[in-house]
């Protein structure tokens, strides 16, 4: 039997971020999913997917937060906690850098996508995630 491609183990860690972004995820947990040591893991993840794992996690959380802002009437503080971020101040800063608007202004500017097209979740999650390069890293927002 052919052994799995090494990158397939990194994909398991990426999927773990997509599945459990609401939880406090640390690098050690993600590294275990990929069967790598934490030091190797972050470097290999970046090599495979073009950004470090904590940044992928932050952009996944911001994408999910944007979705909740567009499609629910939950408060900004609620949404911050729901996507696994603890500090509302840090969330607002990261969100502003990623989307160019405060969470409240973003909500006011966007009607739900579903009112225009029947878009599956996987498409939303893939296409609506902010580019890492559009904002500076915020370590407080990125970890657990």
């Amino acid at each position: 039997m052919t052994t799995l491609h090494p990158v397939r183990h990194l994909l398991r860690a990426k999927d773990l971020i997509d599945a459990r972004y609401r939880e406090p995820l640390d690098v050690a947990t993600l590294a275990r999913a990929a069967h790598l040591s934490p030091a190797h893991f972050s470097r290999e993840f970046r090599r495979a997917f073009g950004e470090p794992p904590h940044q992928y996690l932050l952009t996944r959380r911001l994408e999910r937060a944007a979705e909740l802002l567009r499609n629910t009437d939950r408060t900004v503080a609620d949404i911050c906690l729901l996507v696994g971020l603890r500090s509302v101040g840090s969330f607002t800063t990261s969100f502003g850098r990623a989307f160019g608007l405060s969470p409240t202004a973003y909500r006011a500017a966007h009607t739900p996508a579903i009112s225009r097209a029947r878009v599956p979740t996987c498409v939303l999650q893939a296409y609506a995630r902010p580019l890492s390069s559009t904002f500076g890293e915020d370590s407080r927002g990125g970890h657990g």
């Binding site: 039997m1 990158v7 994909l11 990426k14 999927d15 495979a48 739900p112 029947r118 599956p120 979740t121």
Partner: protein
Amino acid sequence: MPVRCPARLEKTAEAGTANVAANVHHLERNTVLKQLTHAQIWVHDQEDALAFYTEKLGLELREDVTVPEMGNFRWLSVGVPGQPDVSITLMAVPGPPVFDEETQAQIQAVLAKGAAGGLFFTTDDIQGSYEELRGRGVEFSQEPTEQPYGIDAGFRDPSGNQFRMMQAT
């Protein structure tokens, strides 16, 4: 050379997205392609994939033919029980003479990164299917989640292909 109603084709090309339903209706009456029979996905290992698709996903084996004079090419397909007209071809990533080794390695890497595409399924009981598949060791990237179009969930095969299952509501 047969001319196939150019005026209609132009109209189709010009039509915006608002006219999708009208175009579908138009194509039904002027069928060029009759039916989708197979969707092909790359797999890292056909034996491993066959075990996953039949034993874990519960699909049925449809075709398994190895052709010695074609470098032991193996045509392997599975399908959803009860849906005999659509099969999924589990295709090994070939090396030379089909692809040079570099191309083969690129496809294998893209597949393992989860970037080679995937398939969409439906289910009548997504919570039950989710628990059953998880119990069999299927890796989920998204648990059942309510969406405006239904409840959906996401999972992967061992190769890295992405699957969705959806229960309409």
